[in-house]
Amino acid sequence: MRSCSFVGSRLAVHHVRRSLRWFIYLLASLVGVVAFVYPFFPRIEADAGPVVQAMDSPLFLGLLGGLSLLALLLETQDGVEASGVSGETKRIALLGVLVGLNAVLSFVETAIPGPGGFSPIFFLIILGGYVYGGRFGYLLGALTLFVSALITGGVGPWLPYRMLIAGWIGLAAPLMARINRALRVQGTRWELVVLAVYGGVWGLAFGALMNLWFWPFATGPAEQHWQIGISVWEGVQRFLAFYVATSLLWDLARVAGTAAMMLLFGAPTLRTLRRFARRFYFEVRQCASSLSQGELSA
């Protein structure tokens, strides 16, 4: 119970560390976003040196995406590490089993293709992040795609991007808990509706972002490209037209599937995960209560 002795200055350190974490999440996510939207922005100096020109290649975008993924992994796994000895082991075991279960779901999806882009994996990623926290959600999302790529032979250049997006889905899921608290719908039907909307939005965003990853390949490198000098807005318009024409219907199946799973299976799954949260986080709960007392006295 070493971690239970947070008092006074320790508490201040704890707060500083927390804000550092948030800062890393924010910066790393921004780098990831830049990796996705970079192809839209026009290069101003087309005749710059070879090193600068190399920054237009998919290799550079891969570097950005990879950095974002790794920095987030490094930071989120630390959350699994830091919480007392027995808590850490429990969380690792819990995470491992849930990732395995979710990988089986995606395996089933590969074996029996559902309608369109439907994928059952987002359901558990969202609920995992919602109940067990953002760090847990990030790892659950990213590692589910990692493991399912390993077991289905799907390791490829797209994998870091898929891991990053799935991780974001889990990382941002606890924000829905805040929204639910603000709306005062916790424990009611509407809680699941909020989560279903969240899942639907991400279902669409996942498809759009993966299309965005493919976009530089579909259009080729900027320096040889027909659209050199085209404005950002024109580029976005072209992309949207391409997206609506080729992928929107496909992705809508994912949106509908994730939302339907949430509404149909959400309540019992949420109950189960919460019940196990009490069994898993027994020690941590005590820490949390002593921490909040410390906060009150500080």
Partner: protein
Amino acid sequence: MHPLAWLVWLGASAVATLAMRNPLYLLLLFAVIYVVTDVIRGAESGRGGATTASTDAVTEPMMLPVSPIRFALFAMGVGALINGLISHFGETELLRLPEVIPLLGGPITAEAVVYGAINGMVLATLFATFAVLNVAVPTRDLIGYLPRAFYPVAVVSAIAITFVPNTLYQLRQVREAQAIRGHRMRGLRDWLPLFLPVLIGGLERALQLAEAMTARGFAAKGAAAPAAHTADIARFASIGGLAAVLVGGVLRLVPGAGRWSPVLVVGGTLLVAWAIWRSGRQVNITRYRRARWTMGDGVMVVGALLALVPLFLWPATRDYSPYPRLLWPSFDTRVGLALLGFLAPALVLHLARPPAQGERQ
């Protein structure tokens, strides 16, 4: 062969693929990679016998869900279609769509179609390269060579992969049990009686696993427990590195400031890499049964790296653009011969038949 040698080969091949746009080189590289895949498969099945009997998903390399050639045809077709329809540049007009259709209306040119097909070839070659990795390196080795700093990630992945066959087995059991009770699959709703018991069973087993791991001293911190502030140093390094990369990436888009962006990006990347290395130093683990680095691995790495050199020494033929008028791409023999260096693993595997199997058991 050593997993790290494969990773070097993979990296070199991916760099070559992304650096060139000449369809002749791409075709050559694709053929080379395909030969390598084929030789690996031959070696795997030749070793056969003892290993095929085991159903251990962790140590066995995976078979591919999609053949690289089929993927190449698909990617080139889609690429040609997309670019042909969207881009209306080039001089050789094939046909003309009515202008009233937004975006798609206008001339369809042979140049745009070829350009799109080349885009597809780049993607297909990349896909084939990674297919080699999927076939050649067993899953356990891929996890084992994650950087030390990502030890928790490696443990979680190993647990997850071990639990996959287990979960499939449990799913089948639950389905049988529910079928006896008259459960039938009629709609989406009927998945719940299957999903929930599997979830609960999995969580129960996670608790048992955690107890077993604790009993064996997992995550027990001895006297040498790292101080918390070392993690904070790594944290500051990541923040600095990420900020530098971000600023560098944005500066590339600002007129006059582009010169500084590579410095910032490289510096930031190194800083993040240092943070990862630094966090990894706190992890004390011992790895057993490491693969041995052999002569063949050396040959493979040297071959892959040498293959890259002419591509950057004589870059004149590396890029090819069909615009404005379709011309036959030029072929530099030196570059073409060098690309054959990627054949090194096939050569090594071929010469080493009957292979040294002992080390993987």
